[in-house]
């Protein structure tokens, strides 16, 4: 872990910020520095924490200011929609669905990216919102005519999605309880006994183990169904 002043100096050197010692680390984070789309994508691919954070702030500001114009949804859903959409954007960049070649942002099929990154992000958000509405059996409300998301046809089709992408999406929509169990097991690497202490609603280790397996099985089922659907859409 780098020291605070060293991180500031690194940042200053990398992004040509003058007089770094006059700035605190928090100031730097709060600068809301905007970068070009190419810089954002390169930074996220390189796992640059400053760029990741800057992209988050950039998308968050845009999403917050356009939320009511695009989504006819209550404020209580705003954070969930943003969270799911930003994770999808982040993973799409990490999985090279967007990449930079000779200084040009490229999208699906190796073609230059036609829209801006925030437009792409908003298109993801609209799709997530529709999925969320379908999941909640709500009426899907059309987006505002003013939104720019019409251009982003390169961004979001189901076709040629790999199984990992499908699993990733299905995890986002699995039940809270299953997500909790699988996260404790595969992310926190807790054993079943420790999970049992944290989730006292399970009366035995076997019940928990069976539930964990059922969660995996259901996830596999939804992923397979979605994969078949995507294959059929190609045919």
């Amino acid at each position: 872990m780098l020291g605070k002043s060293r991180r500031i100096t690194n940042f200053a050197e990398k992004y040509h910020v003058k007089s770094p010692y006059r700035l605190t680390f928090l100031n730097l984070l709060q600068m809301h520095t905007h970068f070009s789309d190419v810089k954002y994508v390169e930074g996220v691919i390189d796992h640059d924490p400053y760029i990741e954070r800057a992209l988050y702030e950039h998308c968050k500001d845009y999403f917050t200011s356009h939320y009511h114009a695009v989504f006819f949804s209550a404020d209580e859903h705003q954070e969930d929609i943003f969270q799911e959409s930003f994770i999808a954007l982040w993973e799409n960049i990490e999985n090279r669905k967007l990449y930079v070649e000779s200084g040009v942002l490229m999208g699906k099929g190796g073609k230059p990216f036609a829209s801006s990154l925030v437009t792409y992000f908003m298109a993801i958000a609209i799709n997530k919102y529709r999925e969320w509405c379908r999941g909640k059996s709500l009426k899907v409300v059309p987006m505002s005519a003013k939104t720019e998301c019409r251009q982003t046809d390169e961004s979001l089709p189901l076709e040629d999605e790999c199984m990992y992408d499908i699993i990733r999406d299905c995890i986002g929509s699995m039940t809270q309880r299953c997500y909790q169990i699988l996260t404790m097991f595969y992310y926190q690497e807790l054993n079943l006994d420790s999970i049992l202490i944290k989730l006292p609603s399970f009366n035995s280790k076997n019940a928990l183990k069976t539930q964990k397996y059922k969660c995996l099985e259901n996830l596999k089922k939804s992923a397979s169904e979605r994969h078949h659907k995507s294959l059929n859409s190609i045919i």
Binding site: L26, L29, Q30, E52, R53, Y56, E57, K60, E79, Q83, F86, I87, W90, E91, E94, M163, Y164, I167, R168, I171, G172, L182, T183, F185, Y186, Y187, E189, T210, Y213, L216, E217, L219, K220, A223
Partner: protein, 156 residues
């Protein structure tokens, strides 16, 4: 998917198997496509959950920092507003003091003028009375002179 393989698959993926156990696993299941498929699926799930959760943790941290920053901005705004309100209060107090002083001066001036007016009215009254007395004396003298004139004219 088969539940009986899941424990071993999890142990393998979470690096909880000894070298011997790994060898046994490969010997027992390495050739079985259903196990390989389940292993690949579980690996994808594990990777996806780890990637998602790392991002969620970071985003929660950022959201919290944003919230703190917003609170700080709100506190700064509130402090600014408080200062502005205090400034306006001070200005009002200062204006009120000016108004009170001017009102007092006005009343003093008014009293002074009223007193001067009363003095002048008294002087006017005195002068008017003197004038009347003088007038009466002159009229009396004129009448005397007229009588004298008539008398002289009658003698002629």
């Amino acid at each position: 998917m088969n539940i009986k393989y899941q424990d071993d698959i999890d142990k393998l993926l979470l690096n909880q198997m000894s070298t011997m156990e790994r060898i046994w696993f490969n010997l027992l299941y390495g050739w079985r496509s259903e196990v390989k498929e389940q292993l690949s699926f579980t690996l994808d799930v594990m990777r996806a959950i780890q990637s998602r959760q790392q991002k969620l943790d970071l985003m929660r941290e950022w959201a919290e920092e944003r919230r703190k920053k917003d609170l700080q901005t709100a506190a700064e705004l509130a402090s600014d507003l408080e200062q502005q309100i205090q400034k306006i209060h001070n200005e009002i107090e200062s204006l009120e003091s000016v108004i009170r002083r001017e009102e007092r001066e006005y009343l003093e001036r008014k009293d002074s003028l009223s007193s001067q007016i009363r003095d002048l009215e008294a002087q006017i009254e005195v002068i008017t009375n003197e004038f009347k007395e003088q007038q009466e004396r002159i009229i009396g003298r004129i009448q005397e002179l007229k009588k004298e004139l008539n008398r002289i004219s009658g003698n002629k």
